[in-house]
Symmetry: C2
């Protein structure tokens, strides 16, 4: 990827596009690029935060290692998304670890550059807050999903998020390994397989890393239905 193209994507990222051009230039000049290969680690939980990370290409997962050794995926970010704003501003340790799940390009803005900028322009702090808040919001949505939906429903919603259109039929590409998808959705890979099978009856066909959705609305109906009510209707 060329320098220009990278920079263009970075400038249009959710975080940077809300800053002035001057500010962005300043930040970019102090930042550095980094490419990661699949499975390479960006940082570990409890490590002191040195930068904000802006994903420019590929996919990066944030996860936690649980006391008993398992891994819980907290979120997966892609092109245009950023993470670590809050920790960088406050200088606290990362609460999660980060790892590339595909080959990825990441822009890293040093924490010092960020704090410096906020000191000069407090308004920029509110922008950071906005980014943090949107992460908070995403986590709330995820909690809701985990507590109120079955595995198959979460898979359905995952597909719907990937699909661009909002009615009719559609073809989506699964962007990373099924092991990672399963983790992100809080189920085991085997259950993901079975969820895909179950979704066949709602017009979803999966082969390799491609999924075809016959009728987006039908899938949405399923993902939002009360599982209990659903099974009553059919039995």
């Amino acid at each position: 990827m060329t320098e220009d193209r990278r920079t263009l994507i970075a400038r249009n990222s959710l975080l940077l596009k809300s800053f002035s051009e001057q500010q962005t230039d300043m930040l970019l000049s102090m930042s550095h690029w980094h490419t990661y290969q699949r499975n390479q680690t960006l940082f570990q939980q409890d490590e002191k935060a040195r930068s904000i990370h802006v994903v420019v290409d590929g996919w990066v997962k944030l996860y936690r290692i649980t006391p008993n050794g398992g891994e819980a995926i907290v979120s997966v970010f892609t092109k245009g998304q950023s993470f670590g704003e809050a920790v960088a501003l406050r200088g606290t340790p990362y609460p999660v670890s980060a790892e590339a799940v595909t080959d990825s390009e990441v822009l890293q803005i040093p924490a010092a550059a960020v704090t410096e900028m906020v000191r000069r322009d407090p308004e920029a702090g509110v922008t950071m807050l906005a980014a943090t808040f949107s992460h908070l919001h995403a986590l709330v949505a995820q909690l809701e999903q985990l507590k109120a939906q079955t595995g198959a429903q979460r898979v359905a919603e995952f597909l719907l998020e990937l699909s661009e259109r909002d009615e009719g039929s559609c073809l989506v590409t699964l962007p990373y390994d099924k092991v990672v998808i399963a983790g992100r959705l809080g189920i085991k890979p085997e259950s993901l397989s079975r969820a895909f099978s179950k979704l066949k009856e709602f017009g979803v066909k999966v082969s390799r890393n491609n999924a075809a959705i016959d009728d987006i609305q039908r899938l949405r109906d399923f993902s939002e239905s009360d599982p209990a009510a659903f099974w009553n209707k059919r039995s």
Copy 2:
């Protein structure tokens, strides 16, 4: 509760105690107190945020109504804790609804007072960010729990959080309805009952709203064990 006592608690809340005395005075003078009865609503999701809320007494739950009509409890706050900082600063709608689960006293700081203060003292913005970040962190921890632990383990951890000591035996009082506890932990009330039964074998006895823990360390071991490994050992 007397005005003085309330104010004292409010001043010592996580949010306010990080502001200067002057700033706190200013905020307090613009805020108002509100008492809520059990089951009374503070605000609804999608409503425009008017204030930051500081719980001074009682317990308040934040929850979301899911598309299919269920409710997913996101968090439960008590004395000294605050919520809504990010929305108040940004003026976005609440992403959750709030309801008192016991009779409660709440200090409400108008959003305008907050933005005004941050404008005058940008450093205060960082304090807000800190509060928001700690909520973010709590949500991450909750996600991890939901994804990596069984119901019984989450119940165990809930008891451990309530217990003040960190070894030996201990007696804790369940602070609110079991329906709410179950919701907070992402299980049904019936499963909570059964989880309590299962915890008997780890020295936990529950009667009415009191729980006795024989050995805190033993309970912690259980809550952190790999459920699969555990069952292998015993079969």
